[in-house]
Symmetry: C2
Subunit: 714 residues, 2 copies
């Protein structure tokens, strides 16, 4: 009862148990026939794999996706494993050979050339030739007769020849012939043509020389029988523009940009501010909501329940008779002014990011036009925002589950599309965790299907699983707990979680030392050293970071009240006039740090962040590495976490991580002070005075060892 085995390469993982499950429910037990397709290798535990493959991992154009998998086979045969990848719009799979790590784990990668979805899978094939060759070596060493085994090898090579392209085929046929006719075993001389396949010089003329050469091994690996292969399920990686990975954000309130007198700033004032922003080296200029502000229950200075006359209100109370989410607050200017700002900024490489705050003031046109988009209480009133017992009467949340929900969703999608049409490619999303995940999932998918370059930053300061889920369903970048992670232990464990775990496959951190909502205790009390240290930490720990200015660079540090994280005279509720000429202004320092980020590719990625030991808990030291054939880029940052005292200690750089050899000194060039130190293996002394500069950002270079060193992932 011969049953031909269908040679369909499938994942052996899926078939049989499901068959059993079906049986157990559908029919009484009876003998089950063997599966009609199967293959011997197992491929599993593929990474990156977000939500079991239901979601794409994140990558960016210009990067590569590193893929790992467990691959193994019964018995002792060798495997050859490849990553197979293709862009979703391309029909053609490319293959990329993987290398074995420990314990049947394999690693390979594929390059990312354009935005959009890439698909990839891992294929393992049995390398019959490598297996045979290894065995042959053992048999030969043991002095066994090889006659029959060489004929076995000839058959293997002949079958591979049939799969090869013409040039290779000729060589393989010669080899098969040579194996079949061999009388003096492995020492037999081969034809001069075949001998050119041997490795090294002089050309090896024996069968052994050809057979055990790397070239033949590689060729035969490529030609391994696809019928012996198992291919994993197909996973996805969504390629964003590079700015999704490497970005420097600057937030300001446009209404506070008027120079001199405290009049209401305009987009024209913001355009004048672009030089300043560019000099500091930022490439995203994020504006809080620019829409008309409601007057009903408008909040006053310092968040007072009711505004006095002429107080401007919170920009997050969106909507007035002048319009809603697609309108411009009249005092800021016109839509044309906004477009001019966007294009002026873009000309400098700066993206203007706007705020998506999906909520309405009681004066929003939709309150009248679409009362069904809001929640009503039994007394007929619309339910305002609350966090009982706190009330936010100037804000009406939308009801994402109303009878008319899909019309609301479409209207909100149209809001985003509108701004994309105005040239906005980056959105900072306000409180996404208070709207349904399914809404964001759909909205982001929908926008990015047509505009894959659009970036969404999730402003969710909430529970960890919720923040992760927002990233998983599509948010490009995410705010983090960085603001509250201050000790060495906190920073090391949190950044390790963000960069070294599976979370790094989908969650892109954007570190903010301050926001209009958060003036951290450290900045309140730490003075200039705290501002410098927190900036350097944010800018070197993470490839994306941001500050809320000019409050940050002007070292604004007074809280509304003791124990509060609210700013005194918060710009959320009033117009501020900032003295950029103040000697307190840290803009030059910030500009230098951002220049270092641009000059050093290592700081533009997070995948190779590694913390190095120091003998002083107030000194934190970490490196980032970017491999490059012309010399790896290695940046070591050391920060004094004590804002009040000089701290000294010994830093032990893990040379394996930075790819240096132990015997040779290396240069540590401080990119902030331009000082140069000669360091050696073991511990090196560091002393950082917070009153000068509380940080080193050191470019490390081992001169005797300038070429690229392939180093293991940290």
């Amino acid at each position: 009862m011969a049953m031909p085995r269908l040679r369909i390469p499938v994942c052996v993982e899926t078939g049989v148990w499901f068959a059993l499950k079906r049986r157990l429910t559908e029919s009484p037990i009876s003998p089950i026939s063997p599966p009609n397709n199967w293959s011997r290798p197992v491929v599993r535990a593929v990474r990156p794999q977000v939500d079991g493959g239901r979601r794409p991992a994140k990558t960016t154009v210009g990067d590569y996706v590193t893929v790992e998998a467990d691959a193994f086979v019964d018995g002792h045969e060798s495997l050859v494993c490849d990553v197979r990848a293709r862009h979703a719009t391309s029909g053609k799979w490319t293959s990329h050979r993987m290398q074995p790590l420990l314990d049947d784990r394999w690693r390979g990668s594929f390059p990312v050339a354009e935005t959009g979805l890439y698909r990839f899978s891992v294929r393992a094939r049995i390398d019959e030739f490598a297996t045979w060759r290894d065995d042959l070596k053992e048999r030969s060493s043991a002095g066994q007769d090889l006659t029959v085994e060489l004929r076995v090898g000839a058959d293997i090579v002949e079958r591979a020849a049939a799969r090869a392209r013409a040039g290779q085929r000729r060589m393989l046929e010669l080899l098969a012939e040579s194996l079949r006719s061999s009388r003096s075993g492995l020492h037999q001389t081969v034809s001069p043509e075949l001998a050119t396949w041997a490795p090294g010089t002089p050309v090896s003329e024996t069968l052994a020389g050809v057979l055990f050469g790397d070239l033949l091994g590689s060729v035969m690996g490529d030609l391994a029988d696809p019928d012996t292969g198992t291919t994993s399920e197909v996973y996805g990686a969504f390629a964003d523009v590079a700015k999704a990975r490497f970005s420097s954000w600057y937030e300001l309130f446009p209404r506070s940009t008027a120079e001199g007198a405290a009049r209401h700033g305009t987009f024209t004032d913001v355009r004048r501010r672009l030089d300043y922003v560019e000099q500091m080296g930022f490439d995203v200029l994020y504006l809080p909501p620019i829409h008309p502000i409601g007057t009903t229950a408008r909040k006053g200075r310092e968040g007072a329940p009711r505004a006095r006359k002429d107080e401007p209100g919170s920009p997050w109370a969106i909507g007035s008779p002048a319009g809603g989410h697609t309108a411009i607050h009249p005092e800021l200017g016109t839509l044309a002014d906004f477009r001019s700002l966007v294009s002026d900024a873009l000309a400098r490489g700066i993206d203007v990011a706007i705020d998506l705050a999906f909520q309405a003031s009681p004066d929003h046109p939709w309150v009248r036009e679409h009362p069904e988009w809001f929640k009503h209480r039994p007394d007929g009133t619309i339910r305002y925002a609350e966090n009982p017992p706190k009330r936010y009467e100037d804000i009406y949340p939308f009801d994402f589950e109303s009878q008319d929900w899909s019309a609301l969703w479409l209207a909100l999608r149209d809001v985003v599309s509108f701004w994309v049409e105005q040239g906005v490619r980056i959105f900072r999303v306000d409180n996404p965790h208070t709207k349904p995940f399914a809404f964001w999932d759909w909205l982001i998918s929908s926008i990015r299907a047509g505009s894959p370059e659009v970036i969404f930053l999730s402003e969710a300061f909430t529970r960890p699983r919720v923040m992760e889920q927002l990233a998983r369903i599509g948010f490009t970048q995410s705010y983090t707990y960085f603001t509250w992670r201050t000790s060495k232990w906190e920073l090391e464990t949190y950044l390790a979680e963000l960069t070294c775990t599976d979370k790094a496959d989908y969650f892109r951190p954007n570190l903010w030392p301050n926001t209009p909502d958060i003036l951290s205790e450290e900045l309140q009390t730490g003075g200039r050293p705290a501002f410098m240290a927190r900036l350097v930490l944010a800018a070197t720990l993470s490839s994306s970071y941001g500050i809320y200015g000019p409050a940050f660079e002007l070292q604004e540090h007074l809280p509304r009240s003791k124990g509060s994280e609210e700013y005194q005279r918060s710009e959320k509720y009033e117009i501020r006039s900032w003295d950029l000429e103040s000697p307190a202004n840290l803009s030059a320092f910030i500009g230098l740090v951002n220049k270092i980020r641009r000059d050093h590719e290592a700081l533009q990625f997070n995948d190779r962040l590694h913390f190095h030991p120091t003998d002083n808990d107030q000194l934190i030291a970490y490196s980032k590495v970017r491999e490059d054939p012309e010399g790896n880029d290695v940046v070591l940052t050391i920060v004094n976490l004590d804002h009040h005292h000089t701290q000294s200690g010994w830093v032990t750089v893990d040379l394996d991580v930075v790819g240096f050899s132990g015997g040779v000194p290396y240069t540590a060039h401080d990119l902030l002070s331009d000082a140069r130190f000669t360091w050696t293996a073991g511990s090196n002394f560091v002393s950082l005075d917070p009153l000068v500069v509380p940080c080193h950002i050191l470019a490390l270079k081992q001169e005797d060892n300038p070429s690229a060193v392939t180093v293991g992932a940290s």
Copy 2:
């Protein structure tokens, strides 16, 4: 453009991204409509989940399956989460309330009553009532007017009443009425009927008393709107018989059971040996292959390449003119004798396990009848087993990929079915890692579809990923690296991997201090203390363990040669006569250890294994706990790992793990020596002399605290 939202409870995880993926390939980009079904809660990261849910986790009858999941929702609403479970043959789902742990993780469990596949999922619903009640408390504390909010609550209760069964409905309707008519707010007196719903005594007569009672919270949780729910995908757990989890194996060679003179032992001799096996407390008697042994290239004493005349050969060289895998080796007796042995053993609660060694001697009938089931070399000979340069000429492996593979697979399945029909329910599978995974997957599914009680033990001493995969695809129990884990650090890390990681969901360890193939260095050199210590470690670290006897209990310790793990005069190649009356025999000690295992349920599970600190690296200490309403079973084992010297030290029992309170002393009753110690919180002194007994197996009891204490999982 109102689009009704389909209220199909689905996992929101799956829909949208796949829709996008399809779009990207199938059609040009265009606006995408909102999803047509979605729900707000997210349920993910369900555990147990083997291979992303493609495989069932393992459980046993009489146990319960503990299920965990992340469940959360946007906003601040409360959730109510349930495990929903059903046996595959039952249409009815049962619900089991989950409890919140930290960080949006939930845990619940369902009981396992019969063998076969259980399906389970996790459902999270929004608990509108609990959310409203929490908010009400805040509003009330802040002195806000509650009039409208009580009407909101009345609506919630009324909607729940419509879903309630009659008795509850009446109460809920009364409550809704009371909420709606409340004039004096929460202090209003309720009707006497409704007041009975209040918690505690005296019966609370106010609206607040009823409203904030646990009973109402629980009832309203059960009645939470199913339309707000998200249900995870359905996962599986396969329930084995209890012996799959808790088993004590004894292996012997039947041909060595003849008493007195060195004649060939028979099944009748084995039946005589049953008293002995039963007295030692074993419940699985495992016999190496019992089939006819080939004569071609038969191996001789000490594994010599050729047997001399009258040497019996290896039982793993299966097949002779007398038959193959369904035949009995003539010198052992008849099939009827075997069946008598099986039924005599079963009458004592002992299962006879046989060996599935799927390979053939050159004399196996299939070599003649089915030459296509074997691999042939170019010279026409059949390929014997090899591990180049080693040769095993007495063994032909099957070719599981031959042109006629499915007939071979079916024939091998028929072999298993044949022995199941003879009453065999347990199979020890020889070298499963040298046969295709797909074969075992199919074979085990196929057999267990009809006979879910059958147990397969995987004898794979190979790479970790391969051993895991065999367990994942269906092997009930697995051999481990225990034999080579000897130091405290090795034992602690390895057992933690086996019992505390996801591996525990599918990999059931069976610990063997020795096997006919492995006489460990420790047993060679450690004397009687080594045999006692290794036995106690195996028997108390794992709910399943086994020994190869009588070699083990007679302390057989001589290797074939220095540095070898092979036994001198291995029973694999010759018949041995064992002197069970020897004073060296440890059978009484073994019987005591197995009795302790039977008496203490804690030792019959692995899920609550916890290692406690000691200040001496030669002393290892660990507890197992089984919760019981009538008093938890707590067993603490301490073993001296130094077989040559008395070791003393301080053991610090982690009281949280065993569920004891710190202020009260507790009794440690040594079940081996019957000694009783009074221990207290903190460190307790222990001294173990290997020449006496190198272990304590202590039953811990806190007399002032005899009732069950619910303690956290270790």
